[in-house]
Symmetry: C2
Subunit: 339 residues, 2 copies
DNA sequence: ATATGCTTCGAAAACGTTTGCGTGTTGAAA
DNA sequence: TTTCAACACGCAAACGTTTTCGAAGCATAT
């Protein structure tokens, strides 16, 4: 088990100075052709690779970015990571993944832990708890230290930074309009509680579409699900007590659950009930019937976020505090759950 | 935008030496109560946090481990990351995630890039291409440098290191036996090509179960799918051309595809055809009918792998080269796709 | 008055790099 | 022979820590 070889060891072995070795390996013209070749050969033989930590310390940058997400097992977040990773790698950056598990405390701990030189910048999507508490001091602190932050998907207006989002409101509007155009009258909404930013926006889009078509908004058709509760019975009640034409669900789980319960209640999808979901994940694709859905391109979001972060990192002239918000377009993917 | 404060700055500000500051912050008794308090107060005021990179350089450890997986969007791998992350965090480690995208080259690049001091150890599952090429030099090299590696799921006997696996052979055997016990005679297998280690083992388990019950192995009932091909038609042919009783698929995608095609062919699942999958992911749960499956506990695997790695990292007396292979138990989850 | 010991602090090395600058050696021009 | 580039290389600082060791100051014991 040979340890990693360092400049110092090479220098000692070849009886030259450390700087000579360093310069030789960088092909500096300061060093004679002869010694350069000798040193390079030796270095290659011993498989010398510069120590990244030492470089990080010297350069005051780590070439590592951190992405903080609420949950990795959500397909959407996994695709975002995938996009981040790709762009980061292309630019020579590594990706540290942190999970907040929807917990405010874990989010804070992670950020504080890493803001001490371990990484160059953050990409993050807020945990539910953070959104609920509206406490963003940890993020402000990091930004004030001069570390760039890019937020995506679950963002907040209370923080000034670069952001990558979809137009949740518009996407929901379009999905609802799509159902209205089919001639459906009783369109239910299965959404989250309002403190989840994207849930709220999607709810607004739904309402806007109804109003836009002079349809009245029936609150009994809007089901706001709190994460912890047993939402299956709530959805079942919704389907049972209303003679629905269509359902718009703000995520895959709600959509597929609605489908399964409809089947249980002998409501035929899509013949008697059309269903549209949100997030084009693996469930929508493999459900029976497969689910029409608003597709958010997670890879694109992640890629864009990484690009924005890296550009900011590599812009030497820091003081252009012109933050921008990038909107990734969505798309309605029609599958079998809508007529 | 105030930059991070350093020991040196505090020292200068308070007109003491750097070492005095450092010792004070560690509550060293060498320093008088007075100065200690003064320095601590000042440090707290300026929110001093030691620079992690400097610490890493000094201590020659980064408190970061890297997990290399083929694909993050596979639910199983996402759960493994989740398990790794949890245990790592509990022990004060960060997790760097690298994706090989099933590519040998990306795997090599990632490892070489990070083996230079950036991380303390690897947790990895081999890419398909690596398994096919049987070229493990990059892993050997890393291990020879004294950096611990823990492999999980897709492992190889050609490398000596700690491993975390499930007993793929046994699990497949049990799943097949389960089908045999139901009285099924014509049991097909949908599997991968043999160079994927887990696919091969599962195939062996299937065959073993048949032989164990004096049933003959009909090669025409074994479908070995090469990743790239359009496997849907292959599965459709399998279902069409044989009057099957049951299907054992070595992953979720194959299983759910078989279900969807069976429906298309008007074969009722489970009444006319029972199906068992592998990997208890989100698809199996939300498919219609939901899929009976062999559950590998990804969180447990990840947690165990992280534990093994960290224990090795923290065992100072390195030279106990007693590598172990941990087997995580699997479980057959019965759902609607089997009678 | 000298020796001893304790308290309190600072200097410096070390981790592994990069790089500006100084210096010694050579060869050729004057 | 003197002068002066050009060449080839080494020194040392810097990044931010931790830690060993030595030293200064002072009080106590001899």
């Amino acid at each position: 088990m040979k340890r990693k070889v360092t400049l110092k060891q090479i220098a000692k072995e070849l009886d030259v100075s450390i700087s000579t070795v360093s310069k030789s390996l960088k092909n500096s013209l300061e060093i004679s052709e002869d010694t350069r070749q000798k040193i390079q050969a030796f270095a290659k033989l011993y498989n010398y690779k510069p120590n990244n930590i030492a470089l990080s310390l010297k350069n005051r940058k780590t070439k590592t970015i951190c992405i903080i997400i609420p949950e990795i097992i959500h397909h959407f977040f996994a695709t975002v990571i995938s996009g981040v990773e790709q762009v980061a790698n292309e630019n020579g950056y590594n990706v540290l993944v942190c999970l907040s598990d929807e917990s405010f405390d874990k989010e804070v701990i992670n950020m504080e832990m890493l803001a001490n030189g371990s990484i160059d910048g953050f990409i993050m999507s807020l945990s539910k708890e953070t959104q609920q508490k509206k406490d963003f001091h940890h993020i402000v602190e990091v930004i004030n230290q001069g570390m760039p932050v890019v937020m995506f998907d679950r963002v907040t207006n209370d923080i000034l930074c670069d952001k990558v989002i979809i137009d949740d409101n518009l996407a929901a509007f379009n999905a609802t309009q799509f159902l209205i155009d089919k001639g459906f009258k009783k369109i239910a909404l299965i959404t989250t509680v309002d403190y989840v930013s994207v849930g709220k926006l999607r709810t607004q889009g739904y309402i806007k579409a109804l109003k836009n078509n002079d349809m009245n908004v029936d609150e009994s058709l809007i089901l706001r699900i709190e994460d912890t509760e047993n939402f299956e019975t709530l959805i079942e009640d919704l389907l049972t007590n209303n003679d629905l034409d269509a359902v718009f669900a703000v995520n895959e789980i709600f959509a597929v659950t609605a489908i399964k319960l409809a089947r249980k209640l002998n409501i035929k999808v899509p013949e008697e009930l059309s269903i549209i979901g949100f997030t084009d994940g693996i469930i929508s694709k493999y459900s029976t019937p497969s689910i029409s859905t608003v597709s958010q391109n997670g890879i694109k979001m992640g890629g864009k976020a990484a690009k924005m972060l890296i550009e900011r990192l590599e812009a030497e002239d820091e003081e252009d505090e012109q933050y921008s918000t990038e909107v990734i377009e969505t798309e309605l993917v029609e599958r079998e759950s809508t007529i």
